[in-house]
Symmetry: C2
Subunit: 230 residues, 2 copies
């Protein structure tokens, strides 16, 4: 019963993790045969897993030319962060003042896990940091927003890995705790402001001191915030 294998999902999740933890860098080709061989499955399931990753927008899938880890342009990176900011604001608006004590406990537990991973130097603190945002989205009670945010968070991580320095992610913990406190309160605008500041800080930390190929790519991504400033 719970012995659901579903090889497709297994392959999908493994590849997803590999991409988000940057074991597979953007641009890496993902031939169906190689994946099928690696995981001991047929090309059919490898292909379906790739399609699912493409739906998440972390894999590029071009007809007759195969799959590769997505390598978003700066334009696409901008779009991702801009849209993510908007969606997170809407989610925040929905949860502020409506969280139960239990909800808040879950959020705190998530941050605790993130902090532990971070201290232990594990790479999966990235996953925990992402999970924090996804938890909030779950609490908004909208399956659609949850789906959107899942994809946006994955894509954000990919982009930060692509354009940012190795150890972006440092020290979300304090900001996350602050956010929890605000989400437990009743002031929507304040919580939104904190969310904005947090996402802004993540991006800034990831990008500061980085020189991309284009040379002036960083400010191009940061320009997102100039546009959206209220």
């Amino acid at each position: 019963m719970s012995e659901r294998k579903n090889r497709t999902i297994v392959v999908y999740q493994a590849l997803r993790r590999a991409i988000l933890e940057q074991a597979l860098r953007p641009g890496t080709k993902l031939p169906e045969d190689a994946i099928a061989g690696q995981f001991g499955v047929s090309r059919t399931v490898a292909r379906r897993a790739l399609e699912m990753l493409a739906a998440d927008e972390i894999v590029d899938l071009r007809p007759n030319r195969g799959a590769a880890v997505a390598k978003p342009t700066l334009e696409e990176a901008r779009d991702t962060f801009q849209v993510r900011m908007d969606i997170e604001h809407l989610i925040v608006a929905r949860v502020v003042g409506k969280l139960t004590r239990k909800d808040l406990k879950r959020l705190e537990a998530s941050v605790d896990a993130e902090e532990r991973s971070h201290h232990e130097g594990k790479e999966d603190y990235i996953r925990h940091a992402a999970e924090f945002h996804i938890l909030i989205a779950e609490m908004a009670g909208s399956p659609l927003f949850l789906r959107y945010l899942r994809s946006l968070v994955s894509r954000s991580a990919l982009i930060l890995g692509l354009y940012g320095r190795p150890h972006w992610g440092d020290c979300n913990v304090h900001e996350h705790r602050e956010l929890i406190e605000a989400l437990g309160g009743k002031n929507v605008a304040r919580a939104q402001k904190l969310m904005r500041a947090h996402l802004d800080a993540v991006l800034t930390r990831a990008l500061e001191g980085v020189h991309t190929d284009a040379g002036k790519g960083i400010s191009d991504i940061l320009a997102v915030y100039a546009d959206a400033a209220d």
Copy 2:
């Protein structure tokens, strides 16, 4: 070159139209074999078409149990309209004051087409009405928002067909023209208000005088607006 067949896409679009024009009612099972036979393709391409429709959320695809035309619950219907409202507001905020004369012409042409179809009694005025909203989304310049809205518009149509009366869609034309005028102006809040009023009116027209199985389903959908009132 432009002779791209791509049978998958053909099947996908045909099914999509059939669903949106209510030739295929919600709940209808869609076995791979039947579709493959009907369109003269293999099960593989039938399956891929179904997966694409599932991504649009107008087909339900349950593991080992096959595909069926989606039959959203009232809860899901609420979510769809609520999210759509939010997304359309964001899109409006992005386009107001930034449309070129050419953009406005395209919007007007779309409404003209809708009006013609409507006068001629053709069923595809539904498609034109949907296209109007999608055009606006295109002009927002965000691939992600465009993708979201595409799916939301399809799903909205499905839901209105499911819970509403046969001829919902009547008389969008005037409201659409009003919207164009506001989008060409500079007042974001006003344009958003018109968008809200328009979507509200569509829902009201579709649902008025309708009795669902549940009996009180209508007010449940309309409660969306009570929540979101500003």
